[in-house]
């Protein structure tokens, strides 16, 4: 299936053919270190998402300097995976002159965990800040979409503070459920000018926009979470499962689709043979509701887990889109 609106796929393909990657590497000063064939260099950074120090990796385009006014994009991993899986995409995007930043969510990969007090402390609200040596509980591998969305938004803020980045030309890229995150961020945060949702999972299409009616089972789970202090690692793991189930059940990124204004350009990349996602009720349904520049790019023959040439084609499509709209 090959549905486009604002720009034909033929145009995208032609663009790719006409601009060989080597041509994008600017002549002149290439930063020292591991520059790729396209002159992209990388730098690992840390940023705070709320109180947690998170990991990010910047992919700097050839010739990028603090005097540049480069567009930029945050790449968010499939929940459950880490920034390390996104190098290929960040590399392809940076090769087009766009600063790309991959991130690990709080509690995943190289990012810090969520910190809780494991023993009572004395505090004084009038002081606001106090230092303690205390027993803490550090929780990792939580699957909380709203926290991950906050992480993406904080990463956007990080990019806005990076010398050489144009604060007004920032995009978001996400795959799988992070494609849903990208839609959520674009629908709630006015800074997003372009987004790419790859093999996106965008739940909520057939759920009326109403307060959630929780099942008896869900209500019992909420009661347990509210009445049980998390204790011990074994209990912690099952706590993660219960929490994730509830959080995912309430996560409706599809509701954000209609909040994306015409000034934000949205590309959906779908796999033709996706066995995990029904593209009709996710990417394509969202595509139909958008009023601004939008397109669905289908990777022929590809399965949900893109790899090899399918992943390269998806990376090129994302780079094309972001180059055009940022």
């Amino acid at each position: 299936m090959n549905r486009t609106r604002a720009s034909g796929l033929g145009v995208i393909a032609a663009l790719v053919a006409a601009v060989p990657t080597a041509a994008l590497a600017q002549a002149g000063a290439r930063p020292a270190g591991a520059a790729s064939a396209s002159g992209v260099t990388t730098r690992e950074i840390r940023f705070y998402s709320e109180a947690v120090l998170c990991y990010g990796k910047l992919f700097l385009p050839a010739g990028f300097s603090s005097a540049s006014k480069a567009p930029s994009v945050v790449l968010a991993p499939t929940p459950g995976e880490t920034a390390a899986t996104l190098d290929r995409y960040a590399e392809a995007i940076a090769a087009r002159g766009i600063l790309a930043m991959t991130i690990d969510y709080r509690g995943w990969g190289k990012s810090g965990g969520f910190i809780y007090l494991a023993e009572p402390l004395k505090w004084d609200d009038r002081l606001r800040f106090s230092q303690h040596t205390a027993k803490v509980r550090i929780r990792r591998k939580r699957m909380i979409p709203s926290a991950q969305v906050t992480d993406i938004r904080n990463a956007i803020t990080y990019l806005q503070g990076e010398p050489g980045v144009d604060r007004d030309r920032i995009g978001v890229w996400g795959s799988d459920l992070a494609g849903g995150h990208a839609v959520t961020v674009a629908g709630t945060d006015a800074r997003v000018k372009a987004l790419v949702a790859q093999v996106p999972i965008i739940p909520g299409k057939d759920v009326p926009r109403r307060a959630t009616t929780l099942t008896a089972e869900q209500q019992s789970a909420l009661v347990r979470l509210a009445r049980t202090p998390a204790a011990g690692t074994a209990a912690g793991a099952s706590l993660n499962d219960e929490e994730a189930k509830l959080a995912l059940a309430e996560y409706r990124p599809f509701w954000s689709v209609t909040q994306i204004p015409q000034t934000s350009a949205v590309l959906f990349i779908v796999a033709e043979k996706d066995a995990k996602v029904d593209n009709e009720s996710h990417a394509i349904a969202a595509f139909r509701l958008l009023k601004g520049p939008t397109s669905v790019r289908t990777i022929p023959g590809a399965a949900h887990a893109l790899s090899g040439s399918a992943a390269d084609a998806a990376a090129a499509a994302a780079a094309d889109w972001l180059q055009k709209y940022l």
């Binding site: 810090g112 606001r128 990792r140 629908g187 109403r210 009616t213 204004p261």
Partner: protein, 372 residues
Amino acid sequence: VIAIWITGACVAGSLAPHASAQISSAIVDEHRAALQKQATDADMKREGGTQPRDWNYELPEGVTTRQVTFYVDGGTALYGKMFFPKNFVTTLRWPAVVVGHGINALSIGIEKYAARFAARGLVAMAIDYQSYGFSSSGSDDIRLLEPDTTTDASAVIERQARILLKRTNLNNVHEVADFRAAISFLQGEPGIDPDRIGIWGSSNGGTVVLAVAATDARVKAVVAQVTGPRPAGRRRVAIAPQNIEDAITRVRTGQGAEVDGGFSFRSKVDQWYLTRNQDVQAGAVLDQIAPTTSVLFLPAERDELTKGPAGAIEAAKFLNDRGVTAQAIVLPELTHFQAYSYTGFEVGATLAADWFVKYLGERRASTSTGGK
């Protein structure tokens, strides 16, 4: 002549099934002279906040209390003070109400509302939001002062660590979660009917309770005092130009600038709240409130923060038009913080209790299928 009370009803041609006043507002008429006195008496003026003398109350005869701990966001301990009606027994099923304070304030200032509700046969629980009062700070407000060496090999690790604890993070996203955790806690409390739970919030807490009702259909009744979220379209959050540098400092150093939190509890808060709290837009989600939830607005006529009662009146109309039972009763003459004291309190607390008793009902005999 001052409009004494206004229902959110009677839109011509409306097919809304509940488009009429639901409780009597006669008490407003009865106390009109006293409200006028409160509005003009120099000693009863309240500008910029309530005063500690406004927080005092006497526990009604037979009402008992218990302090409890409950958990939000996977392990943050929150504080609640429960007020049980006279003759409370767990063998019956009682309606219950969560009582949450306004902007930058503490539960001790609103315990008196919980006490009044308990006097009317409701179990009531006044709560402190996370990072306030007796509630702990959550994971958004605890920063490690040493490297986090944990890896994805373990989901939970407990150890000694140096930390920086932050308090009074004014954050409506937290407050929505805190209310929902309180509802969950009450649902599991022996003697409480898990299907008859209400929420009360005042000022900024009124904004929060409406957002909670728009999110969670477990809420059966809402009272939103001195708040007026005019129905509005959903909009993306924009960071005001003067807040962008601060936001950048925040993600690059872990802490941005502070501003005076003001109001009743004069602590500092993060400047970031001006941006973060836009993530909770009560006026934009009124259309999500379920028809099984009923909403009472208690705006103050001369409210300097909400610019009068018009927003609340519009919100009640908007809900009625969509088949949600709603009513707005204006507290005449009063300014924002006068609603919490003297006759303003007497009238506001009585109307709120009337609403909860009407829409949550009274204690009932236990059934063999009930309870959780």
